[in-house]
Subunit: 344 residues, 2 copies
């Protein structure tokens, strides 16, 4: 039988390949594969569903991620997907695969983090599955949410001349990861308890990596201002990859201005120390869990009053492509490095 | 810090320990942890959610499970949980962790099996997550379903004198697994393609292990006859473990009659060959995915007209305990061996 390596398709190619043949037949299914969450009509409101699988050694490294933070983050990234649909998360289910390396106390820590995220965002943990594993820790979380049909924001609604906005700052979670990784290597051979990692003044970067907060506050601001974005998603793989998803699904192009991309100054400082280009980190770093959305020009006056929202560009005709405009006006095609873990 | 081994609590003890502190705060949550599925009220109907995590080497062995069957079974066991609530499954999400050992063609096989189960049971695959893994194959499936509030059957409604029913036969999937395992060991050292496993005439046992069918037909029969069970769950861990769940949650006891437990004659034959007690296999074997339910005595006349439903005992006062009545009238307390994988 033919053997095609998964790496030749990449993550998105693989998912498209495997899900292309699916035909939907349930009248309650309104939107299947292809957005931050699926959409179902069980009643007057819509129900949203999203799911994430986290594997030890791929998505997290317990050498520097405390279990409580890991639990918090595992929930947070799912909530982020529901907010990215302009919905409200309501319930999660949690499945764990746990090897004998872990104790009951370890799992209590993990659960404490998950419970804290649930409490902070008023979400109920309603079920799951816990089983033995031979290889480390596996966490699978599914999040349900609700939204009015008319409020749901998909990825495919961006129109020519729409404004492109991002929240918070980008590349910071990636720089936090670099800091953790550098310290991990530096501390190898040092006895436990001896090392004091040199993170002083850079706690924010670590927090962005270890304990991201989904942007419920932005969704609430948008509601209060009466703004409905034309397209939206959360930034889990980096701005380049995400804006290309929106452009592809909306059949439009974009111009992103390099000097408008929000960068944290501490992140920039660490990037310089490490000889990394912070803009490249912001475009491709991933795990920021900020929101990326597009809005009609008519909302401009309201948008500029929003806290922690930044205009980074505008939507163009599709033939223009997905472009990054450099500081000197030069135009570069955005590259979606995204997620290449299958090559490892 | 104290270290408590997970094995000291066991699966159910661990889940109880970790989920005891959960407080539900969402008005849409009607039932959280503790049944075959969680129950939410998003509209006039109820929404059901269940989830399962399957890990290579723990839940399946690819040496004898074809990927297409694995995909089918992974979906089937989730559908079974929704039927066990007397609901109708409607959507699934699928998350996969896949190591570089697997090719695109392998995943196509897996998906073909999942799609087939979806088609057979009219369920939509609406989303998921696919990522690289360092260690084999991980499958996480979440299933959504719907039910009228008044139709949902929980585990806690069994009453004294209710009849106890099981569908199909028990222990057969376990005997199928024993056959596969025996052949795997016998074929070690044999070149691939050389071996013809000695399964002739025993295909049914293999099918029960490799491609279980959730009992939608039973749910449909119950509806047509106007029977609403007082308690119900699916038999995934063995009859002993499951009836003890129902008795515990309903605060009742039970008497199960050994000679009433439905046994497939081929399964009994293989058990004898292997020096196994088929009744022990039926009580503790697991993976049959049959339904276990209790009914009010008034439904007796209707129950006996049902196809593939067997009366195996009755519900007693709690002080009687959960008893197995042997062929000679001797009484034995049922032992829930259930799932002890954390001891491995």
């Amino acid at each position: 039988m033919a053997r095609t390596e998964i790496a030749t398709l990449g993550e998105f190619g693989l998912i498209k390949h495997l899900t292309d043949k699916i035909t939907l037949q349930q009248p309650t299914t309104k939107k299947g594969v292809g957005d931050d969450a699926a959409v179902m009509a069980y009643g007057t409101k819509r129900t949203l569903v999203t799911t994430d699988l986290l594997l030890e050694g791929i998505h997290f490294n317990l050498e520097y991620v405390p279990l409580k933070h890991l639990g918090y983050k595992a929930v947070a990234v799912n909530l982020s997907d529901i907010y990215a649909m302009n919905g409200t998360p309501t319930q999660i289910t949690v499945s764990l695969g746990v090897s004998a390396r872990f104790s009951v106390e370890d799992l209590e820590e993990l659960y404490a983090g998950m419970r804290l995220a649930c409490e902070n965002y008023k979400v109920d943990m309603v079920g799951g599955d816990t089983c033995a594993s031979m290889n480390g820790l596996t966490i699978s979380i599914t999040c349900l949410g609700i939204a009015n049909d008319k409020d749901i924001v998909y990825r495919n609604g961006a129109k020519v001349n729409d404004l492109i906005c991002v929240t918070g700052n980008l590349g910071t979670a990636y720089m936090g990861l670099q800091l953790l990784e550098r310290e991990r290597i530096a501390n190898k051979g040092v006895r436990q308890g001896d090392s004091i990692p040199a993170f002083e003044g850079r706690e924010y970067l670590l927090e962005r990596q270890l304990k991201p907060e989904p942007r419920r506050d932005i969704i609430e601001q948008l509601r209060e201002l009466g703004i409905k974005p034309t397209a939206m998603m959360d930034v889990s793989d980096g701005l380049s990859s995400e804006i290309k998803h929106i452009c592809h699904q909306s059949n439009v192009g974009c111009a992103i201005y390099e000097d408008k991309i929000p960068i944290d100054f501490k992140a920039a400082e660490v990037a310089e120390e490490m000889n990394l280009n912070i803009v490249t980190c912001a475009l491709n770093g991933g795990e920021d869990y900020e929101l990326l959305f597009t809005c009609d020009l008519k909302d401009y006056e309201k948008l500029v009053t929003m806290h922690d929202v930044y205009l980074v560009g505008h939507i163009t005709k599709p033939e223009y492509g997905t472009m990054l405009i450099g500081r000197n006006g030069e135009e570069l095609e955005l590259q979606a490095q995204g997620w290449q873990a299958f090559n490892n």
